[in-house]
Symmetry: C2
Subunit: 133 residues, 2 copies
């Protein structure tokens, strides 16, 4: 089965999460890195930051694109991006893992294709070689 | 004028860019950081990586969310995310700046609201306080 785009990008809104978890830099960082493993991705680098008085932002750069999070503990809300390339990585596995870990009671998620083959001139059905880190 | 969401997220596809620029780690990093300034954002941290044999991935974490890029010089293509919160930052300024710098001959861009007030329980018309780094 060939893909029709270089990547899949999940834009997830997590509502009614556990606010204490959303406000803990180390836990958020750990879960995001674990989600990369769960999805089958290769971690390249990461950066996380806690804001004053609350909230965490961070990104895990993976060989297959990136996983990002921004949290608003005061609203129990997190905006999560799971952008992966290639067929060996499944962003939905990261989504389900994080939904469970952040204890989201309600979610909204969009899946958007990035780098559609027809737009960048790759013949449909091609298997794009994933670059190694 | 009040916003109806915490943030705006531009998902931009840049086609037919200058491939030499897309493959240059230092230039890509510099342009992405400059685009944060152009948008009126405050840079918190960043990480960029060049892949073998080609391509650059990187993210600038800003106080107002993040700016990310993944490049495929072999296709002249870059996937760019410009996710900003608050009314004092304009992701479209970063978009126009980067479109020019990467010499994109063709673009496709979607603007998506993140953290809609009605979903997270903030009264419409509220002015959300942006957290400082």
């Amino acid at each position: 089965m060939g893909m029709k785009a270089l990547g899949r990008h999940l834009l997830a809104e997590f509502y009614e999460c556990n606010p204490e978890i959303l406000d803990d830099l180390n836990i958020v960082e750990e879960y995001m890195k674990q989600s990369a493993d769960v999805a089958g991705a290769t971690i390249v680098n990461w950066t996380f930051h806690r804001f004053n008085p609350q909230g965490v932002s961070g990104v895990v750069v993976i060989a297959e694109s990136h996983l990002a999070i921004h949290t608003w503990p005061e609203y129990g809300y997190a905006a999560i991006d799971l952008f992966t390339c290639g067929e060996s990585v499944d962003p939905w596995k990261a989504f389900n893992f994080l939904k469970d870990k952040f204890q989201a009671q309600r979610v909204d998620v969009k899946e958007i294709q990035r780098g559609k083959y027809e737009e960048i001139g790759i013949p449909e059905g091609s298997s794009h070689k994933i670059l190694t880190a």
